[in-house]
């Protein structure tokens, strides 16, 4: 399933957030959207999923323009993993995952035995089968994020779009989720899914060996392989702090901001005021 966007302007009527955006993702690709807060990443994701109509240009999914597809057809082609949230009702994790099957049910349908099996298989694949009967709203942020990824798996869409999948996770869960994302794309097997994700951590783009789209103020400022796009200069420019990109002995790239000296006293004085 190929996702393609061209000449895209995103935002709300009277409040454009981004212009001239173009991107393409195919099976086995991982596309990593990077950029500071408010640069339009989430708005772009919503536009790519057809949740927000583009102000200009268009998005096509599997060769068809989004506006010509029904919501159910879009959901069969693209699954969305929102940031972990707490729904108002105490659904079980299994029920949350089963909701991923909705687009495959007739309008008045209920999930059946096969749907239940698919949902359990998705939970098991992520190693959280034991959470199936637990109250989703009582799970930790990391567990909820994994449940939402399981839901996307149960949706069986060839494209998965994730909004900051690691934002609320601890160190270990971040690594687990990243490993799952890499496995989802599974480029080696050739039947991989396409994954689009946003993140605040440029290291993840290196770790996933993803294609990078670096955004600032609604425009794409760099793109390509991480080693080409995520240079020290580009990251410093986009995030407004000096960033160094270094290689560890094992060859992994690490991006780190150099903490500017002059800001230290002001932090201390704030801390004192709070105390």
């Amino acid at each position: 399933m190929r996702l393609q966007a061209e000449g895209l302007a995103i935002g709300y009527p009277g409040g454009a957030v981004g212009h001239d955006l173009a991107l393409a993702v195919g099976p086995g690709d991982i596309l990593c959207l990077l950029g500071p807060n408010g640069c339009g990443k989430t708005t772009l994701l919503r536009t790519l999923l057809g949740l927000l109509p583009p102000l200009a240009g268009g998005v096509s999914l599997g060769g068809e323009r989004l506006e010509r597809l029904s919501r159910a057809e879009i959901a069969r082609r693209a699954a969305y993993v929102p940031q972990a949230h707490a729904p108002p009702f105490p659904f079980t994790a299994l029920e949350i995952v089963l909701m991923g099957r909705t687009a495959r049910l007739p309008p008045f349908g209920q999930p059946g035995r096969a749907d239940r099996a698919a949902a359990l298989a998705a939970l098991t694949r992520l190693g959280i089968g034991d959470l199936a009967a637990r109250d989703y709203s009582q799970l930790s942020g990391g567990q909820r994020q994994l449940v939402l990824i399981a839901r996307a798996l149960a949706q069986e869409a060839p494209l998965i779009v994730m909004d900051e999948p690691t934002a609320s996770l601890d160190f270990g869960n971040q690594a687990r989720v990243l490993a799952e994302i890499a496995a989802l794309a599974g480029a080696a097997r050739g039947d991989g899914r396409a994954v689009v994700l946003t993140t605040h951590d440029p290291d993840q783009a290196f770790a996933l060996n993803a294609q990078v789209v670096l955004m600032k103020a609604g425009r794409i400022v760099a793109r390509g392989a991480p080693e080409n796009a995520l240079t020290s200069a580009a990251l410093s420019e986009v995030y407004g702090v000096p960033v160094v990109v270094e290689r560890t002995q094992s060859g992994r790239a690490v991006c780190a901001p150099t903490l500017a000296r002059q800001s230290a006293p002001s932090i201390t004085s704030e801390a004192l005021t709070i105390t």
């Binding site: 972990a84 008045f108 209920q110 009967a133 942020g141 609320s168």
Partner: protein
Amino acid sequence: MGGGARAAPRKPLSAPRIDAARPARRLAAPPLWAGVAVALAGLCFGALMLGPYPLTPAETLGALLGFGDAQAQIVVRNVRLPRVAAALLVGAALAAAGASYQALFRNPLVSPDILGVSAGAGLGAVLGIFLSLPVAAIQGMAFLGGLGAVTLVGLVARAVRGTDPTLALVLTGVVVGALAGAATSLLKVMADPYDQLPAITFWLLGSLASVTMADLAPAAPAVALGLVPLALLRWRINVLSLGDEEARALGVEAGRLRLVVVAAATLATASVVALAGVVGWVGLVIPHVARMLVGPGFGRLLPAAAALGAGYLLVVDTLARTMAAVEIPLGILTAVIGAPFFIWLLARGRRGWL
């Protein structure tokens, strides 16, 4: 980002709905519902026996089947049976509508009363009485009034988005309800004090005292027309309770579904408001109890809420006509029971069930 912090688990879940129990529950479901039906039938039979003219079980059964004392037959078949049927219908409709609104507005604290539906439907029906319209027209007015109120509440709450959405919704409901109440009061002042006013007043407090089979005839199909779409769409209503955006991403046409659910729940509410007057609290309290019993899955929640609501209102109505020499208006009893329950819910404040 912050999603994880908000719902800090208060106590570890003792897993009441464990996975292994799932197939067992499936097997247990038919006996469970059979038990519910038997319990409801028992309540109905008890309600038919009780009253100012008490009957023995044998007399009641005989009267139901058309044997025995002529007066007992009249009491059971013409007076009590329509009333029992109406209580079941009203309770089931209000509770089912309440469960639907709660899922729709993603808020377990909303109900037909809080959203102004009851007040709006009340205004419509009072206007109908004021204009001396026929019963069917009064029902139509109640539906339009209820639909108008809930639409207004939804639109205003959306417009004042800056604040906490729950608070905006509840406060808007209060405001719209108060506005409808004011208009209702105006109609009461203008109404004929000998003919219309007593009817309006008694009706606003909620009562099944004067219900006949002829009143039930138009109300029952209207309630069914409201509840059937809710039952058919039960899975999609679950998905909608995750929020519009997520529901759309999961393949649900959220806007269209929302319209259908609002119209269906409002039709059910307005039909029974036209029949029984304004009976508050049922639509708030009963769905909570039902959710505690069967969980939030709408496929089980809807029938559970309907059955519980039917039984609850039957008991309350039987109390209303037997507790005192004078008939106590239903709305008063449901408020006396419902208000403390609401306070208890607020005090408990556990996320998820609340």
